[in-house]
């Protein structure tokens, strides 16, 4: 009940924020967002952490709906994970907003922002807590609309309106599909409550399972930005304010995955491997296409948006692998894959919020988000640069930062497909593994580009030259998230058991014992079975059993009696070793070169008179090799390629513009749009304004109904 009390406090604070907003002056509104938002999110964090760590489910009945069903909120460990992640992102975003919102003062109404912001927070929390179909759908719809309004906050710009409209249209179509899926389940169970649906879940027929699966993945997948329903995401992010972008990527995308997990793993326990394969492939394709378009994007926020698709893809791949393992009887492997998926979601929320804050800060204080026009910001925005670098390293899965642990677990889980029997499934796993490996490599390219082109080198525009550092109120949340990135990276031994708890309700097994050997989590090794210890002998894990404090080693083994160790990582100990190595090397180098004089000369430029900013690589130039390699997928469209000459031969301008329309836009969105336009055109033919024709329509309709009545 404690968890529910904290949740109640959260809702109360959100309501307070909404109520106060109109009465607080415009310039005080950011402060309101920060204080009330921070307090509210802190409450949410506590509730989530409590639910996750206690492993208990708390239920509350709020009353009866107009339809006669009970409205129930429940906080189980699965919700707890998402609530905790959400709370952390809310907390950071609320604090960040205090400084960031200043740029909208005098341009847009901050009172409206505050009201919408708290409304969105409450709606998101409600989605996670809802425990019956009706309240879930209502909360979901509120969240969708709130999100649309906030993304469209800068509503005086045409492209934002278009982006918001696409987002709303796709979101509503998704909601419809998800609603149908949930109602089908409710219909089968005869009740709108999740509890009843869950009880009925195991008895569902395969056909219904597939229908529910397809509808829910298509519906919730829109919010998660999975291919092929991702088109709105890269458009919405550049339009949204940075703090809303952080919420969008850090929280709302997670809700999509939450929906998929809730329906397909919790309400309907998996029995078929097919949906797992579908998830695996959808995830792998999303990951690859996401990162491919991220590499080629030059707008920092577009780049981050595409990279969100990639990260959701990785999580979905792990989820798919988990489903396949679970349905083929590999409970331990399933748990590992699901832990990897949740770990990926948690990491992504943290570093993507951080990166969006960074992009927003750059946008606000360097005047542009276009990487081609940035450069050299590290000199003027050192802290932003540091935090953005940590975010970039994390998302690029570089040890010892957070992305490494989850991506490594995901890839290892995919490698364990050797345990499976079906060759077809193995092939699917191999494909996903290759796609993810390629994705990981491109992610490094992508974030080297994002960081190097933005923060290193010379400023390539006057705006970048005059950049200045953000205020502390904006740096502090970034710093906190950066610290979290490091912690999530070096302490997987603490994160995995916590996440493992959440999986009890979905996977059935816990990964904690499979992944974190109980050497360090369960007291003295002498308490363990001798056979278990013997299995780890070769790895040398027992060497440190008495001297190494705390947990530091993640070991995956097959589980069961034999425990053949297949891989291990020691991120915590490795971190210590890394620090010692770097420090030691620095010390030795410094000692050895102490007697030497250091000369500082300009960089070698081949002897040109002056190295100009335009002589340095641009973001486009940096990513051009990728563009050339993946030309067949990217299919650049030449918009313009002209030469201007004077005096017959002298070129004065070579103008070239190229577009890279997204593969999904080309293959899906454009086709759909064309069909819709065609259908609308057909319908429009009926509206030609001739009175006698309308009379004929009325008459025809009347005859039709009479005919139907007569048949009955």
């Amino acid at each position: 009940m404690i968890a529910m009390a904290w949740t109640g406090a959260f809702f109360a604070l959100c309501a307070l924020g909404m109520l106060l907003a109109p009465f607080v002056p415009q310039r005080r509104n950011p402060l309101l967002v920060a204080i009330a938002g921070a307090l509210a999110s802190a409450c949410l964090c506590v509730a989530g952490a409590y639910a996750l760590l206690s492993g208990r489910t708390v239920d509350t009945t709020l009353g009866l709906s107009p339809l006669g069903s009970t409205i129930r909120f429940s906080l189980d460990p699965l919700s707890g994970v998402f609530v905790l992640i959400t709370g952390i992102v809310f907390l950071a975003t609320s604090v960040f907003s205090a400084g960031y919102l200043q740029r909208y003062l005098d341009h847009y109404s901050l009172k409206v922002f505050t009201v919408l912001y708290f409304g969105l927070l409450a709606a998101i929390a409600a989605v996670l807590l809802a425990s019956d179909v009706l309240s879930f759908l209502v909360a979901w719809e509120l969240m969708s609309i709130g999100c649309y309004l906030l993304v469209n906050f800068e509503h005086r710009r045409d492209e934002n309106i278009r982006a918001g409209y696409l987002m709303l249209a796709m979101g509503e179509a998704g909601t419809l599909a998800a609603a149908v899926a949930l109602l089908l389940l409710a219909n089968a169970a005869g009740s709108l409550g999740f509890e009843a649906i869950r009880m009925n879940g195991t008895r569902l027929a395969d056909g219904l399972r597939w229908t529910v699966f397809v509808l829910s993945v298509a519906g919730f997948g829109v919010k998660a930005g999975l291919v092929p329903v991702n088109s709105w995401l890269p458009r919405a992010h550049p339009a949204a304010p940075a703090n809303v972008s952080a919420l969008l990527s850090g929280v709302i995308l997670n809700l999509g995955i939450y929906g998929i997990v809730r329906v397909n793993l919790d309400l309907v326990p998996p029995r078929l491997a097919g949906p797992g394969i579908v998830l695996l492939l959808v995830g792998a394709i999303s990951a690859f296409l996401g990162i491919l378009y991220a590499v080629t994007a030059n707008d920092m926020k577009t780049l981050l948006a595409h990279s969100s698709i990639e990260n959701m893809g990785i999580a979905t791949t792990a989820l798919g692998a988990g489903v396949v393992f679970a349905t083929t009887g590999h409970q331990a492997l399933a748990a590992i894959a699901l832990v990897a998926a949740f770990y990926q979601l948690a990491n992504h929320s943290v570093y993507k919020a951080l990166l969006f804050f960074g992009a927003g800060t750059v946008d606000a204080y360097a005047g542009t988000r276009d990487l081609d026009h940035l450069g050299g910001l590290i000199h003027r925005m050192p802290w932003t640069a540091l935090f953005f670098l940590i975010g970039s390293l994390s998302i690029a899965a570089i040890y010892p930062f957070s992305g490494f642990s989850s991506e490594w677990l995901t890839l290892q889980a995919l490698l364990r497909s050797a345990e499976l029997s079906s060759n077809l499934v193995k092939t699917a796993f191999a494909f996903a593994g290759v796609a993810l490996a390629l994705t990981a490599a491109l992610a490094v390219t992508c974030f080297v580009k994002a960081f190097a082109m933005g923060f290193l080198g010379m400023p390539r525009s006057p705006a970048a030259e005059e950049a200045r550092e953000a205020p502390r109120s904006m740096l502090a949340p970034m710093g906190a998230l950066a610290a979290l990135c490091v912690l999530l990276g070096i302490l997987p031994t603490f994160v995995i058991p916590a996440l493992g708890g959440a999986l009890k309700s979905v996977g059935g097994a816990s990964a904690a014992h499979t992944l974190v050997p109980p050497f360090f989590s369960h007291g003295r090794p002498s308490a363990l079975p001798a056979k278990f210890i013997a299995d780890f002998h070769d790895l040398g894990a027992q060497v440190g059993q008495d001297i190494v404090p705390g947990r530091g080693l993640v070991v995956l083994h097959r589980g069961g009696a034999d425990n053949p160790v297949v891989f291990a990582m020691a991120t915590s100990y490795g971190f210590v070793v890394l620090i010692l190595l770097l420090g030691g090397t620095a010390f030795v180098v410094r000692r050895l070169t102490a007697a030497r004089r250091v000369m500082r000369e300009e960089q070698w430029d081949g002897g040109v008179h002056q190295l100009l900013p335009e002589m340095t690589y641009t973001a486009t130039g940096f990513s051009n090799p990728v563009r050339v390699i993946f030309d067949a997928i990217l299919r650049p469209r030449t918009v313009e390629d002209t030469q201007e000459t004077v005096a017959q031969h002298f070129r004065v301008a070579i103008v070239r513009t190229r577009e890279h329309p997204h593969l999904v836009d080309r293959l899906v969105l454009d086709v759909l749009t064309a069909w819709m336009a065609g259908a609308a055109g057909l319908l429009a033919r009926m509206h030609h304004g001739k009175l006698n024709a309308y009379v004929a329509y009325v008459l025809g309709t009347l005859v039709l109904f009479l005919g139907i009545a007569a048949l009955r």
Binding site: R597, E601, E602, W604, G606, G607, V608, H609
Partner: protein
Amino acid sequence: MTQWVLEGLRAGIRTTRYPFAPETAAGVSPGLPAAGELARPDLERLIARCPTAALASADGRLVVDARRCVHCFRCVRGSDTPAPWQGGYEWATGEGTLGKTFTRSLHIRVVDAGDCGACLHEVKQLAGPYYSLHRLGFFISPTPRQADVLLVVGPGTDQMREALTKAYKAMPTPRTVIAVGTCALSGGVFGSNFACGGGISSILPVDVEVPGNPPPPLAILHALLLATGRAAPAAKERQTAGERMP
């Protein structure tokens, strides 16, 4: 691809034995005029024939400033009493200041400061099989950042001054400048004018000088050996016992 392996093997070893044994093949060096005793009228005629004032008289003897000789051969061809001529190629003067560390591993950045192409071409020959400077631990570096030696050819044009200075500044210490060719030493036929500095010592401190227009590859090799303390500088005055040039 195998054909290239065979082809390479078939060519055999062509590399000169220098500095372990003198190179005696014909055509490796144009030689230089040498000092000597001459009758006064002949001496004056010879000195007048020299377009770059490389010849002078000291106490009635002919003395040669090799740093100025442009190989016009006027002192030996079309003259009734030709100047003494001497082959050889160990012409470099100056001293290596790098110290022992670099004796067996030296990285060289070659800079063209207005060269006619001949000196540069002779430096290029050094990397070929006949001279193979790598066998002696010398390497051509693409950047001055990793170079110990700045090997400069050409008279030092005004418009290369900035790049040359930048390259020198970009080098870590200790560093050595080797000026290669008559143009780099004295300006050669270009002398000193508004566009061209009459030798690169007006731009950089020169440690080792290699005369010759152009100096043959072996002379440049000698300069590199000199810079690393592996060879002695050329004698102050070459001996008179020179061969006759046709």
